[in-house]
């Protein structure tokens, strides 16, 4: 068989992405039709930049999700076809079996794996970790930043000192110190996970309690159910067989994160949360001087009610924008970890690791490194554009 021309490659890649296109079209048409009823999200569709950014982000999100169901990928991302080592894009597979996709659309890497499928699978790693890690970092930052900004004083001095301590650490040094196998063996990342992951529970508990404190009949059952479920999830997340913390027995443990993901997750949350803390603290210090806060204080509301139900909703604009930017930053951090071969297993298809693999032969074979590089670039660019569009739209009212 002849190698594919560039035109053929592009057509075949576009066809391969069919489920993503369908999903994108559905999402966009529904959103545009109902955009007046969708609040800030709907307003996003008034700004071109925001729409382009959202499209790029959702493209990778759908790619990740469908890729996880083996819809888009052409080959197993770990399968090696020995004749395909370092072959350029569009090379046909010699003696392809029935049912096997006959081409490596974006060529093969130096271990003769399909670059295209690895890129698609790599999107899943990012889509799984980055938003969730950012969300956790926000929970930590909000839970600590609100009281620091609201009360001020000694608490603020202490927490700000801690935050500055972490911020003064060069990120790469921190990663090298936390993610090396020797340190992982001592269980330090697991203990850190234990501390960091408790913050979402505290956050939700305080949030609900401060709202429904006056209605014990609603509050008590609600808190019991929510905290029970979250506590179970927390214990399943934290307890890992074979590490320092094995709290739950096998049958009760809901899920275990595979190979090093927990460690990567913890270090990314750890690095991000002090910055979120500083932003939330600044916003809280600004907003606590407003009249509606004074009104709530005069009404006799408790401090936590004021923080979570008066200050936090009014700080949502900057926080949402920063959330988008921070997901992009987290994606870059994940790539950095992969680039230095830290944390994730070496055969992992995530973009940082693939760029690192590909760069060794970069001067001769471009495609194994360029493809994930552009994937990462477009995703982060999409998030930045989305943040820009959101900022513009939220400033408008």
């Amino acid at each position: 068989m002849e190698p594919l021309s560039w035109f053929d490659i592009i057509t075949r890649v576009l066809i391969q992405f069919t489920p993503v296109w369908i999903a994108l079209v559905i999402l966009f048409s529904v959103s545009v039709v109902y955009k007046r009823r969708l609040g800030l999200y709907g307003k996003l569709f008034d700004s071109t930049i925001g729409m382009v950014g959202f499209a790029l982000v959702m493209f990778w999100v759908f790619t990740g999700i469908f890729g996880a169901f083996d819809l888009i990928v052409t080959h197993d991302p770990l399968a090696q076809v020995s004749s395909m080592k370092n072959k350029p894009p569009g090379t046909p597979i010699l003696g392809a079996e029935d049912g096997q996709y006959p081409y490596y659309l974006f060529g093969g890497d130096n271990l003769a794996r399909d670059v295209f499928s690895r890129m698609v699978k790599g999107a899943w790693v990012v889509v799984q970790i980055a938003p969730l890690a950012t969300l956790f970092a926000f929970m930590v930052g909000i839970t600590l930043g609100l009281p620091a900004g609201y009360y001020g004083g000694k608490l603020d001095t202490f927490l700000s000192f801690l935050a500055n301590l972490i911020l003064a650490f060069p990120v790469i040094l921190l990663f090298y110190l936390l993610v090396t196998p020797e340190i992982v063996d001592t269980g330090i990342p697991n203990y850190m996970a234990m501390v960091l992951f408790i913050f979402p529970i505290i956050f939700v508990a305080v949030l609900l309690n401060s709202r429904y404190r006056t209605q014990p009949k609603v509050r008590t059952p609600m808190l019991i159910i929510v905290l029970g479920v979250m506590g179970w999830l927390y214990l399943s997340l934290v307890s890992q067989p074979g590490t320092a913390i094995t709290v739950l027995p096998d049958g009760v443990d809901l899920f275990n994160l595979q190979g090093g993901i927990l460690v990567v997750f913890v270090s990314v949350v750890f690095v991000n949360s002090p910055t979120v803390f500083r932003i939330v603290r600044g916003l809280a210090m600004d907003i606590k001087t407003r009249d509606y806060v004074a009104a709530a204080q005069t009404r006799g509301e408790r401090p936590w009610y004021i923080m979570l139900w008066e200050i936090l909703p009014n700080a949502r604009g900057p926080l949402i924008v920063d959330f988008c930017l921070r997901i992009g930053y987290t994606t870059i951090l994940l790539g950095t970890l992969g680039f230095f071969g830290l944390g994730l297993p070496p055969e992992s298809p995530d973009w940082g690791t693939t760029i690192n693999d590909g760069r060794r032969l970069l001067q001769i074979y471009l495609h194994p490194a360029i493809v994930p590089a552009f994937a990462l670039l477009s995703m982060v660019l999409g998030l930045n554009l989305l943040a820009d569009g959101l900022r513009e739209e939220s400033l408008r009212d």
Binding site: P170, L173, E182, I183, I188, I364
Partner: protein, 351 residues
């Protein structure tokens, strides 16, 4: 002002102490020490041999004591080993079991004694000095490219907010902030230095730039680092410039009939550059990240490359030295940015 400075420096020293202690603790955890013993001695040592190896070399002392010795505020250890030789921290192997007349009892970072690197078989202080010099050269050129470039882009974009120049320059800066060094570096090598693409304008490796930096071998690493920071500073400059341009005194100047270039150069620029100044100073810690990535990618054996080597090879003393230096760089730039902010902006008072 003096009190403010004193407070800031005090906090800075406390932060530095805490951070170095954390690094010291993490590098001196028992698995790391065990690995060190097996590297230095014998891979097939038994646990007992490892323990005695570590004890003879002062590694089994309590952590705070070790830290104090490393810092140079406690006298270095002198231990008579189980193999009969007496070793000391400051004076090596002692023949007769006592510290010689001219020997020192304190030797730590404060005395300028940074220990011995196991990877490079050299004094940590001199390794860091040479590597830092190389990175300094790189950083100098990065700054020369990044700061003027970012300020020009920012001022041009912020001068007339919403214009076509503004739109296109802002898009460029968003793209550069979305391109981490390992992506732009890979793309640059692919386009400008690979045989596959054909344009061979620059070198894909900067190893030769360590002795003799030329346009060919130094452009790509410098541009790669500069680009990532550039977009961010440019956006800050743009925002601050746009804000200044709407101020009352600019309108007064326009109504008086001052020409537009004159307004920008004489009235707006100074006030618009206060915010970017802090941002530029706070970019240093971030640049350190970029330096590590770029030096690894382009094989330029500077400070960042040394960090990777030290961390990857469990070279405890070198890693500690590298962390001390990088933590201090970060803290000092924070201090400078605080002082500079107060100094540049008379509206902020310290008390």
């Amino acid at each position: 002002m003096a009190l403010f400075l004193l407070r800031r420096i005090g906090t800075m020293l406390l932060t530095a102490l805490c951070l170095t202690f954390i690094v010291f603790w993490l590098t001196n955890l028992s698995p790391n020490l065990e690995k060190l013993a097996k590297n230095q001695g014998n891979v097939r040592m038994t646990d007992e041999q490892v323990a005695s190896f570590l004890q003879d070399r002062g590694y089994s002392q309590p952590l705070p004591l070790k830290y104090a010795q490393w810092l140079g505020v406690a006298p270095g250890w002198v231990i008579e080993g189980r193999d009969g030789t007496t070793r000391s921290r400051c004076n090596g192997v002692l023949e007769d079991g006592t510290i010689p007349e001219d020997g020192r009892s304190f030797c730590g970072v404060l005395q300028g004694d940074w220990g011995q690197s196991t990877v490079f078989q050299d004094n940590v202080g001199s390794i860091i000095a040479t590597r830092l010099g190389l990175t300094g050269k790189l950083m100098f050129w990065v700054m020369m490219v990044m700061v003027p470039g970012a300020l020009i882009i920012g001022v041009l974009a912020g001068m007339r907010e919403g214009s076509r120049t503004d739109r296109s320059l802002s898009t460029v800066s968003i793209i550069t902030t979305a391109t981490p060094e390992y992506v732009s570096g890979v793309v640059f090598i692919a386009v400008f230095a690979s045989t596959a693409f054909g344009l061979r304008w620059f070198n894909g490796s900067a190893t030769s730039a360590m002795e003799d930096a030329t346009f060919e071998n130094f452009t790509l690493p410098v541009i790669t680092i500069a680009l990532y920071g550039m977009g961010y500073i440019a956006r800050m400059t743009r925002a601050s410039m746009a804000e200044v341009m709407t101020a009352q005194y600019i309108r007064t100047a326009r109504l008086k009939g001052v020409s537009f270039p004159n307004i920008v150069m004489k009235h707006a620029l100074r006030n618009a550059l206060i915010a970017p100044f802090t941002v530029i100073m706070l970019q240093f810690p971030w640049l350190l990240n970029g330096v590590v990535i770029v030096e690894t990618l382009f094989n330029y054996k500077g400070f960042g490359w040394t960090l990777v080597q030290a961390a990857g090879n469990n070279d405890i003393e070198l890693l500690l030295g590298v962390s001390v230096v990088s933590v201090f760089v970060v803290l000092v730039t924070q201090l400078i940015s605080d002082i500079g902010y107060v100094y540049l902006n008379p509206r902020i008072s310290v008390s």
